[in-house]
């Protein structure tokens, strides 16, 4: 006769088997149209480019060398790939600038929402969520319309007499920066709000009770307490900024490239799929490192606060 303990053990095994079966469809779909292709990208980065795109099945590390270095056409020596490097630097610079600007604008905004009375808070939150869920392309297009030479910004500036000819903003780094700040601002506000909502304002009261000024309360009490939100928001903005494709394409006009556009170029006019694959993987590695940093920080702060 089977004992209750054996039955319990079997029930647990059955439960785990059932759980694997239930997750199978999701895992298979994501493997086929996500992780699997990513592994193929790794393979492609070690092959030789084909003459009309695609690859030849010959092993080569040229693509990886080509990420940062380039072979001189005349004497075959290796030098720094200036074009790649400048795009890398622009991507990192613009992503940092976007992160800092969204933080500067997003922090007071999130604080404003978090300190509203409970009934209106949901409404403000809704107001910030709407742009977040509307199409990124449409939002980018909206920015493009505002800042183009014949757009309402320049029209207004000329009408005000600030300038007599339109200021060229579109198709500059400025345009990409403005666009990314605009597009990613909600990504900063939402996690900031999430941590501010939990803020215990009795601590702020205690700060004032102990002679702190408003600025000191902000710097010594509020900011340290919402630090997890600041980190989360920064990561959430930095990662998509670094991999941005649509915004630089629409607002940079194909001249001011970022990493995403450089990768695309290798699969189009560049006809160097292995290099494109290597660049894509480089981007993935940077993003993964940023994510791991965040996960470790989150785990660490969770440990500290129980």
């Amino acid at each position: 006769m089977t004992t209750a303990a054996e039955i319990a053990a079997r029930a647990e095994r059955d439960d785990i088997r059932k759980r694997w079966l239930l997750s199978t469809p999701a895992l298979v779909i994501i493997f086929l149209a996500g992780i699997g292709p990513l592994l193929v990208v790794v393979l492609y980065s070690f092959l030789t480019p084909g003459p009309y795109g695609d690859v030849k099945w010959e092993f080569s590390t040229d693509a990886w060398v080509g990420v940062f270095l380039q072979r001189d056409i005349f004497d075959d020596t290796l030098g720094i790939a200036d074009a790649h490097l400048s795009i890398f630097l622009r991507s990192v610079r613009l992503s940092f600038a976007t992160t800092i600007l969204t933080l500067l604008f997003g922090f007071p905004t999130a604080y404003f929402i978090a300190t509203r009375p409970e009934r209106t808070q949901a409404l403000w939150l809704f107001v910030i969520t709407i742009p977040f869920w509307t199409n990124l392309l449409i939002r980018t297009f909206a920015v493009q319309e505002v800042i183009r030479n014949e757009g309402i910004l320049n029209t207004a500036l000329i009408w005000l007499g600030v300038t007599s000819t339109p200021i060229q903003i579109l198709y500059t780094d400025w345009a990409i920066g403005i666009g990314m700040v605009y597009v990613y601002l909600p990504l900063m506000v939402l996690p900031l709000y999430a941590s501010m909502e939990k803020l215990d304002f009795r601590l702020v009261e205690a700060g004032y009770d102990l002679y702190a000024t408003r600025f000191q309360v902000l710097r010594r009490i509020i900011i340290p307490l919402v630090k997890p939100g600041i980190i989360a928001g920064s990561i959430l903005v930095f990662i998509p900024s670094l991999g941005a494709y649509v915004t630089p394409r629409v607002l940079g006009g194909g001249k001011q490239m970022m990493l995403g556009n450089l990768i695309e170029l290798q699969f189009g006019a560049g006809r160097n799929w292995p290099l494109g694959a290597a660049l894509a993987l480089t981007l993935t590695v940077i993003v993964t490192v940023a994510l791991l940093f965040y996960v470790r920080y989150a785990a660490h702060s969770e440990q500290r606060h129980g």
Partner: protein, 364 residues
């Protein structure tokens, strides 16, 4: 219907439940055996973490025992899943289905048993009447009060006419007055339905008022099983005596006397007659317990001399705290008579008189 002691409704035999493994191994139940009789209101009483809820869950089938058997009318039910056991539960949180009405909740069990529709309707109406909830039958469960939810939970568990009803601290979420009402209500329901109730609580007063028999549990073991009177007046172990009511512990030299009793010689040299815990032959040094209301403070020596430390008045009674001359403390509870003080003053030298057979010799 009186409890029928000859037939065991639930027979728990050598049940252990072990959680975790290796260094984290915890025995939530440690070789527990107990027989619960048919038609009985049986209470599992103990502090949180004593294993009472674990035992209840094993009987319900939400967990399986690591060792041992659980018999329901002689049949081992330990390997059966909960939906195959003729046992129903009233949950601490009530666990009413929020997407169903009161009537749908009550009818759920019968419906699952595949009973015909008109039978379900009839039985639901009967249950609604039993718990006096006819007027609210079509309400959603979120639209009724806590006390009403409690009644629905009871009706839902009783509707399929289980052999045994399990109640997991069902009154703990109610406020004091409602709790008192429901205690009486539960007794009435048990009486009317004749179903065996197994009731889990940490509230000793609740246990004493409601139960036919009580099992006191601590650290995964059952320490004593008995009627409320047994448990209160004749505790067999220090934990039982301490957990239920207020108690004075004294050390005494004991020797057997006639009729399974004992003579206990106190630190003052005086000897009193004491009862003895079951299966115990008293000899030598032992702990004896005396309930505060079974002793009196007297002017003069009494059985134990001491000095009054504190007098605490609380309405019906007054507690007089006495510091004994031989060391230790003793509390006497005396009933208040109208408009009179305790008759004693702080610092007064008094004696404590212990009634005959008021003392009980413990096992340890």
């Amino acid at each position: 219907m009186p409890a029928n002691p000859d037939r065991g409704a639930i027979d728990v035999r050598g049940v252990s439940k072990i959680f975790g493994s290796g260094a984290d191994r915890v025995a939530a139940l440690d070789d527990v055996s107990v027989v619960i009789c048919e038609n009985e209101f049986f209470t599992l009483l103990g502090p949180s973490g004593c294993g009472k809820t674990t035992l209840l869950r094993l009987i319900a089938g939400f967990d399986f025992p690591t060792y041992g058997q659980i018999l329901l009318h002689g049949q081992d039910i330990a390997p059966l899943p909960p939906f195959k056991r003729p046992v129903n539960t009233v949950f601490q949180s009530y666990a009413l289905f929020p997407h169903m009405t009161v009537a749908q909740n009550i009818g759920f069990g019968l419906e699952m048993l595949g009973k015909p529709k008109d039978e379900v309707t009839a039985r639901v109406d009967q249950m609604l009447k039993l718990v006096k909830m006819e007027a609210l039958k079509n309400r959603k469960t979120s639209q009724i009060s806590g006390g009403q939810q409690q009644r629905v939970a009871l009706a839902r568990a009783l509707a399929p006419q289980p052999k045994v009803l399990l109640l997991d601290e069902p009154l703990s979420a109610l406020d004091y007055k409602l709790r008192k009402e429901m205690q009486i209500e539960l007794k009435r329901l048990q009486h009317e339905t004749g179903i065996t109730f197994i009731f889990v609580t940490h509230d000793q007063e609740e246990a004493l008022t409601m139960s036919d028999r009580i099992a006191v549990m601590s650290q995964g073991k059952i320490l004593q099983v008995g009627t409320p009177w047994d448990i209160y007046d004749k505790p067999s172990e220090r934990f039982v005596a301490d957990f239920i009511g207020e108690t004075n512990f004294l050390t005494a030299k004991v020797e057997p006397a006639e009729g399974g009793k004992a003579n206990a010689t106190l630190s003052s040299g005086k000897t009193i007659a004491a009862t003895v815990a079951e299966n115990l032959v008293p000899s030598g040094e032992a702990t004896i317990v005396v309930r505060p209301e079974h002793a009196r403070v007297v002017k003069g020596e009494g059985h134990l001399p001491g000095v009054i430390d504190n007098i605490v008045y609380f309405g019906t009674d007054t507690n007089i705290h006495v510091r004994l001359d031989g060391g230790g403390a003793f509390i006497v509870r005396q009933q208040n008579t109208r408009s009179a003080g305790s008759g004693f003053e702080l610092g007064e030298h008094v004696g404590i008189l212990i009634a005959d057979d008021a003392a009980q010799v413990l096992k340890d």
